[in-house]
């Protein structure tokens, strides 16, 4: 049975997602509940030798609406460890994933004589959790980072069903403006398409780990640029930096238009 009135506004108007409304053969319009939406935003992560930075903008959108200018996307997975997780995509799933990870890390601690979960263990756990929801995926793109037992930076990125690289990565980006940011990071972190000046384009510029000041600049540049070109990115930029001395957070302004 279908009823011939419109849905109240606010539920189906999504810019990058839309509610499927199909015409069945009988000429009736069939509405179906779409359990997903996209709340926009972008995250990035960059590693140095012994530090790692995760950052995300703080705009939360539904379609063309800005719901909030201050919703954070980067989470610490405990107060006394180096684990940080950034999630982007569908806001509700993203928060659920983050909460699940916080809970797992906390449980691990209590079940292992107050030992903290290693970053590689957290990485595998996140993959297992996401894949456990393979047939009703969490629409959340994750970047997980932390320091390993030797104090080296580790960074992992995931798709929504949990595939990731155990080796980790030097940089990652996910979310609505990731396609704008990834090539920038390729060039600036991995030095892709950069050559030693005297070699006439024959010798690639050697890749060296970045220092914290450069990384901080890259993060801010990436987001100011993404804010210019993508409507779902802006308002504020949350930056979490993990070093051997601890975890620090900073929020800076982005353009609000």
């Amino acid at each position: 049975m279908s009823l011939p009135f419109m849905q109240p506004l606010g539920y189906d108007q999504s810019y990058s997602f839309h509610t499927p409304t199909s015409k069945a053969s009988g000429g009736y319009t069939q509405h179906s509940f779409n359990p997903y939406t996209d709340n926009g935003g972008t995250i990035i992560g960059i590693t140095g030798e012994d530090f790692v930075v995760l950052a995300g903008d703080t705009r939360h959108t539904s379609g063309y609406n800005i719901n909030s200018r201050t919703e954070k996307k980067v989470y610490r997975l405990g107060e006394d460890n180096s684990l940080v997780l950034a999630t982007v995509g569908f806001g509700a799933d993203s928060k659920d994933v983050a909460e699940t990870m916080m809970r797992a890390v906390n449980d691990f601690k209590f079940n292992h004589n107050l030992k903290n979960m290693s970053v590689s263990a957290a990485a595998q756990y996140l993959s297992t959790f996401l894949y456990g929801n393979r047939f009703f995926p969490k629409y959340a793109n994750c970047v997980l980072a932390g320091l390993d037992k030797d104090g080296r930076a580790r960074l992992y990125s995931y798709d929504s069903v949990g595939s990731y690289s155990k080796q980790g990565e030097s940089r990652a980006s996910a979310g609505s403006a990731s396609s704008l940011i990834v090539p920038f990071l390729d060039n600036q972190v991995e030095f892709k398409n950069q050559f030693v000046p005297s070699s006439k384009g024959q010798e690639e510029r050697p890749v060296v780990p970045l220092d914290p000041v450069t990384v901080a600049k890259l993060v801010k540049d990436a987001f100011t640029s993404a804010t210019e070109r993508h409507i779902e990115v802006g308002d504020g930029l949350q930056i979490i930096t993990v070093t051997k001395d601890g975890v620090s957070e900073e929020v800076v302004d982005l353009k609000k238009d």
């Binding site: 009135f5 849905q7 606010g10 939360h60 806001g91 659920d96 009703f136």
Partner: protein, 260 residues
């Protein structure tokens, strides 16, 4: 007279045709809500220095029919929290009268000096909404939770998907388009809350309700408004959109009684 339910209101098959009773067969699988039936429109709310103002009109629409004009969509929960609901009215009533009432009763029966505050109630509702969406059986609402919590005003939103966010000025449904720009003019960010007086906040919300009544076809001029402060919750039912001006309508055909 035939008293069987399929005959109600349809006395003569020869005039109206046989009644289509197919929907009465229970061999069909259970259906989850696929769209809302009787709906409420926007809820708007704004923080101010010392509290939060929240308002929602008293209309429940059945499609484009203004079905009930005396529906209360704001609900006081506990001592310093108000939950406002837009979307499906029956789902709202389930939330208000089943879940929230029993939640508070259970909390207060403990009688141990602990009380659920706005942030606690908000988290609970978000979880309920998210769990229901994960069961593909959503509660078709968008909620605003307004309250006084831990010495600060609290305002946050949760919807049928479990999406949650917080801001110093929020509006659901049509209000997200029409009221939010008006609210943000007064309160662009959290820092601005400090400089907003209670009177200013109430005026702004009243203005929003008026604009929504002008431009949202599923709205009503009669609305409820609640002010939550550190002291208590002050409710004002049966508010009326003030200082309306329909002057522009005078020259337009189709408004009011047309002579020609």
């Amino acid at each position: 007279m035939n008293h069987l339910p399929e005959a109600w209101g349809r006395p003569r098959n020869d005039v109206y045709g046989t009644y289509d009773a197919s929907y009465l067969q229970s061999s069909m699988p259970n259906q989850h809500t696929q769209s809302p039936i009787v709906t409420g429109t926007s809820v708007v709310a704004l923080k101010f220095n010392g509290g939060v103002v929240i308002a929602a009109d008293n209309l429940a629409s059945y499609g484009s029919l203004a079905r009930f004009t005396n529906v209360e969509r704001l609900k006081q929960v506990g001592t310093h929290t108000v939950v406002g609901a837009g979307g499906d009215i029956s789902d709202m009533q389930y939330l208000h009268e089943k879940l929230l009432d029993s939640l508070i009763i259970k909390e207060e029966y403990q009688n141990d000096g602990h009380h659920l505050r706005a942030s606690h109630i908000y988290r609970y509702l978000s979880k309920v909404l998210y769990q229901r969406r994960c069961k593909f059986d959503p509660l078709w609402n968008t909620l605003l939770v307004a309250g006084w919590d831990d010495g600060k005003p609290f305002l946050a939103s949760a919807d049928l998907l479990g999406t949650t966010f917080s801001a110093p000025a929020l509006a659901t449904g049509f209000g997200a388009h029409l009221a939010v720009p008006l609210l943000r003019r007064v309160c662009p960010d959290e820092a601005a809350v400090e400089n907003i007086t209670r009177e200013q906040a109430v005026d702004t919300i009243e203005e929003c309700m008026k604009v929504l009544f002008y431009r949202d076809a599923r709205s009503l001029s009669k609305y409820s408004l609640a002010i939550i402060t550190g002291k208590d919750v002050e409710g004002a039912a049966e508010c009326e959109a003030k200082n309306q001006s329909w002057k522009f309508a005078e020259g337009i055909r189709g408004y009011g009684t047309q002579v020609v």
